[in-house]
């Protein structure tokens, strides 16, 4: 099967009929930039626990993350676009995660993969951060313990949708979050306590005595 000319899509058109051989593109700048960004996200896998194994399964042959322009794992945060936090984040790891996020250049996004990263999950105890959104801003939460590769792929597609809706003129998207100088925290302490409060039945399960 030989190579055939690809049909032109709505984004770029090649004007060969006029014989000049020049290509030209007419589009909104936002659309073009976002299309480029969304289709070539470089993930930084911050894999800590079980979710990292499912992340590896997603990257391996059967689910093939490369289909979404993400086959280039960027293990250095300085060349990465998306932080995929896969797994639980204990308090000891919190400064590390925070620092990796700070090292990533703008524009950057974050996917919180799995229940533990998103909310502490089943580890409602002294050691685990109850949701990484108390440390860094999160764009997409992928539920599951661990999420199936399909779930992660869906989260990635959602992130791509989000990226495609961004406006370059909206400077607020690229704001870096600075810690509160007094407490050293990124969101108010009351908000952290509220986010970390267990929901529903879990209060009674663990506080019912022995």
């Amino acid at each position: 099967m030989g190579l055939t000319a690809r049909p032109s899509d709505n984004l770029a058109r090649t004007d060969t009929a006029s014989g000049s051989g020049e290509s030209w593109v007419a589009t909104r700048l936002d659309l073009l930039v976002n299309w480029g960004r969304a289709g070539s996200l470089w993930p930084m896998p911050f894999g800590t626990a079980c979710c990292a194994i499912e992340f590896m399964a997603t990257a391996a042959s059967r689910f093939d993350l490369a289909r979404f322009g993400m086959e280039r794992m960027s293990f250095s945060p300085r060349q990465a676009d998306v932080l995929i936090c896969a797994g639980r984040v204990p308090f000891k790891l919190a400064p590390v995660l925070r620092r990796i996020w700070q090292q990533m250049p703008q524009p950057k996004w974050c996917i919180s993969m799995g229940a533990c990263a998103s909310s502490g999950g089943m580890f409602d105890n002294y050691a685990v951060v109850q949701g990484i959104d108390t440390i860094i801003p999160v764009d997409v939460y992928v539920p599951g313990c661990p999420p199936r590769p399909e779930g992660l792929l869906y989260g990635i597609l959602m992130l791509q949708e989000k990226v495609k809706r961004e406006r370059m003129s909206d400077a607020s998207l690229r704001n870096e979050m600075d810690p509160d100088p007094e407490s050293g925290l990124y969101i108010p302490p009351q908000a952290i306590d509220e986010l970390s409060e267990p929901f529903g039945n879990s209060v009674h399960q663990t506080r019912s005595g022995l």
Binding site: F91, P95, R99, A127, T134, P189, S196, T206
Partner: protein, 235 residues
Amino acid sequence: MSASFSVVIPGSAAPDAPAPATPRHLPNRGGAVNPSADALRARFQGGILRVEVIWGETSVYVERLRLGEIVQWLHDDPSERYDYLSDVTAVEYRDPEQPIEVVWHLRSLPYRRFLRLKVELARDGKTPLEVPTVWSIYKGADWLERECYDMFGIRFVGHPDLRRILMWEQYREGFPLRKDFPLRGRFSRAEQLRQALAANPEARYSMEELTVAQAFEDLPEAMRKRLKGGERTGE
């Protein structure tokens, strides 16, 4: 050194022993006692407080201060040869009157035996939470003892480097596996997070462990300052 590589086969010291089999129908109390328990009794009369057999596993309660000697003998004696340390841990009961137990799980590979040693640390306010280390006998005890210290606050006297291992060194909430430690920690979540972010354990190099420490004074001023201050490095 290359000559020392020969295959070691467990059970080689007791070729006539019956082949090991999956244990079945174990009684709750009693049953076959590990022969090492009797040998221990004969050798260290006063050092052995009592022997229990629970679900087929022999536990020997030994006196706190004689533990090192007992383990050394178990390790060296040709009829025991407990050369493999499986585990070091501790148990605190919910009843605050009951003593804290420190537990050693030993295996004798040549004889295919399994023995549990226990030391009881009474909660009378007089007994210190201290036991002798077995690090000098089993190198594998290094981290196991550190973890036990980290989680229970039990000091292993003679351990060369008894620091926290799982929690960071500046962790201030206490010893997590103690029963008076609440499941969710002592502080609020915000305070826990604040302390964790401020601790930044990654920036510490534990200078005292390094051979560089001996040459510390010769290091450039800037490097000395950075290593001493424990501030962020590499950023």
